[in-house]
């Protein structure tokens, strides 16, 4: 599933978006996918995870995604970590850690906060190097090309 998330991340990079991709799956079957579309959609909430959760809700005809898991190439930010809790997602697997905005392990632990009405099983660091390399290559290429507007880190 992380390989499919990486494909989504590469698709985002090809559009000039910060390369982050996400897959929602259940029982080994892909339910929904998302790739960062913040720039193209002019939407501050259009992170890969939010788009995948919204699509999964449409596919399953419910906002409760209780038996679903998510694979995402970058540690979710506060918005996305909170969305995973709200959607009652069972399990989260992420690739690279995000020391600047990561809200699952790095800066906050929103997915495992015992005070919330739902918690996720979390595994970080899956294919972390490959996921991180994609981000580093994207930002390095952008620094060499002033024509692409700077969106800030995902």
């Amino acid at each position: 599933m992380m390989r499919l998330a990486l494909d989504q991340a590469r698709a985002a990079a090809a559009r000039g978006e910060t390369p982050v991709g996400a897959i929602v799956y259940r029982d080994g079957i892909v339910i929904a996918s998302g790739a960062n579309r913040r720039e193209i959609d002019r939407d501050p909430t259009a992170h890969a995870e939010v788009l995948a959760l919204r699509e999964a809700g449409r596919v399953l005809n419910s906002w409760r995604l209780e038996e679903c898991s998510m694979a995402v190439t970058l540690e979710p930010c506060p918005m996305c970590a909170g969305a995973l809790v709200n959607a009652r997602v069972k399990r989260l697997v992420y690739g690279a850690a995000d020391p600047k905005m990561g809200a699952v392990d790095s800066l906050h632990r929103l997915c495992t906060d015992p005070r919330f009405n739902h918690r996720l099983e979390v595994r970080g660091g899956l294919l972390a190097e490959e996921c991180g390399d994609l981000l580093r290559a994207f930002f390095k290429a952008r620094r060499g090309n002033e024509k692409i507007p700077k969106p800030g880190a995902e």
Copy 2:
């Protein structure tokens, strides 16, 4: 602006959704509005705040809402607090505190975390009683009517 947010919250209640409403405004002018649509849209991310931020991005043709403020009837949850940070919103005014999921003052302080790349000015408790009464009346009515599916607290 909080009165307009309350109108949105009432509109949500009329559809059977947890009554939360949000307004995005700039220089005293309404840019966008949102009312909770989680049930009707089968969308775990369709909280009032996220919908208002997405609409504001479309209206202003940018995901950066740097000169914008938000008024919302309930203290934002982690997802919505994170979305406000991501959108670079300048100022947040909320009504009732949320001791169960509030991520601005109650359980976390995501909108003022100095480690993030953006922080908001925050004022809580505006028309708090009226905002809270609307929620309490909604949940009380729902407990008396088993026919309405239970969506859980916003």
